[in-house]
Symmetry: C2
Subunit: 192 residues, 2 copies
DNA sequence: CGTCGAATTGATGTCATTCAACTACAGTGG
DNA sequence: CCACTGTAGTTGAATGACATCAATTCGACG
């Protein structure tokens, strides 16, 4: 599936063709190979990424060297390191590509100009933030209130397609358990 | 400590006296007694609450009847159920007062008008959202990557004053562990 | 075919939960 | 003023969930 950035803005945010024209010179896309880093820890993050095709992964690495996946971003999703973008601090997180991925790059300049020329964009952008908060809160609720099995089932229900696209150990890392544990959870579900 | 809403907007968001004047008829405050509900599950949330004095608690209750605290809101913090406000859905969460609490009520009408008359307010409001997302991401990182002790230490470091204001079982509920476990974690820290 | 990473499985260990008993303390009513 | 009650917090013993470590299998790919 491909999700063209400008088409997305038109259909979902209600941005008009005229408004888009004014933004043309600030819209860039870029393709990253599987495994390639879009953002390294310590870097200042300059863009919000919109995924047109492929899959990104937003994660941290603990002192013991373990990866913890905070978020997946498939087609039609946004990711960025807000610490870094808003407050000009070095990133605490990594972003890389789980598959060959094409993204639209939204600089702060783009976001500001788009917000100025398109009230629809500004509104939609805020909606995105609100929605993101909802999701994160729900995830926290699951993490503090549910066991591995329930969290896995919720993941499957929410992101059925990701199931098929990401290796199991990444799902385990997203759920906050070990790959071995996830394997056993799955085994239990099949026979149970 | 008291955090007057209008003073807060002036100092932190850069809202001017003139702008505030235009908003006077949309600003209301209300005081809730300890234990009183500000938002019940199933209700539609009509306001974002700004805490002027006291302490609020944003939480859910599982099927087994256990409370899971998603967020605390002491003086100078905002809380709301975004599901409910933005998308007009019945709330999945509760908000209640841990202490006698005075809040400023921001209706959607207020937020919209304030955003119109005060670009500073609009910008600040967006910053609040961005910052909220940062925090939630950090909390998720802790929940999937750290054990009870580390999460507790992080909590103490981040919210030293809350330590003294909320009962231990609430902190446990926030950390995603049982009160008994938290008691043991604390015991270990003292002797260790 | 051989290699490498992903996934499974078993044995064992660790951390947190559960259940129950007990202490401490604040509030209530006699 | 003291007994009664309820809630918070602590502690112990048993259990359960998930982690760890090690061995094996599976499958993709050069």
């Amino acid at each position: 599936m491909i999700q063209d950035f400008q088409t997305y803005l038109k259909t979902n945010a209600g941005v008009t063709n005229r408004q888009l024209e004014q933004l043309q010179d600030l819209i860039f896309t870029k393709t990253y190979e599987k495994g390639e880093l879009l953002l390294d820890k310590g870097q200042i993050c300059r863009h919000t990424f919109f995924v047109e095709e492929g899959l990104l992964r937003f994660f941290s690495i603990s002192e013991e060297g373990k990866e913890h996946i905070i978020q997946f971003a498939p087609e039609g999703w946004f990711v960025s390191e807000r610490n870094s973008i808003c407050f000009n601090e070095p990133s605490e997180y990594f972003i890389d590509a789980c598959e060959r991925t094409t993204v639209a790059l939204m600089s702060q300049e783009f976001v500001e100009k788009a917000s100025r020329v398109s009230p629809q964009f500004r509104m939609y952008n805020e909606r995105i933030l609100q929605n993101h908060i909802r999701q994160l809160q729900k995830r926290i609720k699951l993490l503090i209130g549910s066991n591995a099995e329930e969290r896995y089932l919720d993941f499957v229900r929410l992101y059925p397609d990701l199931m098929l696209r990401v290796p199991q150990w990444m799902i385990a890392s997203y759920l906050g358990i070990t790959p071995e544990s996830l394997s056993r959870v799955r085994k239990n579900l099949v026979k149970g």
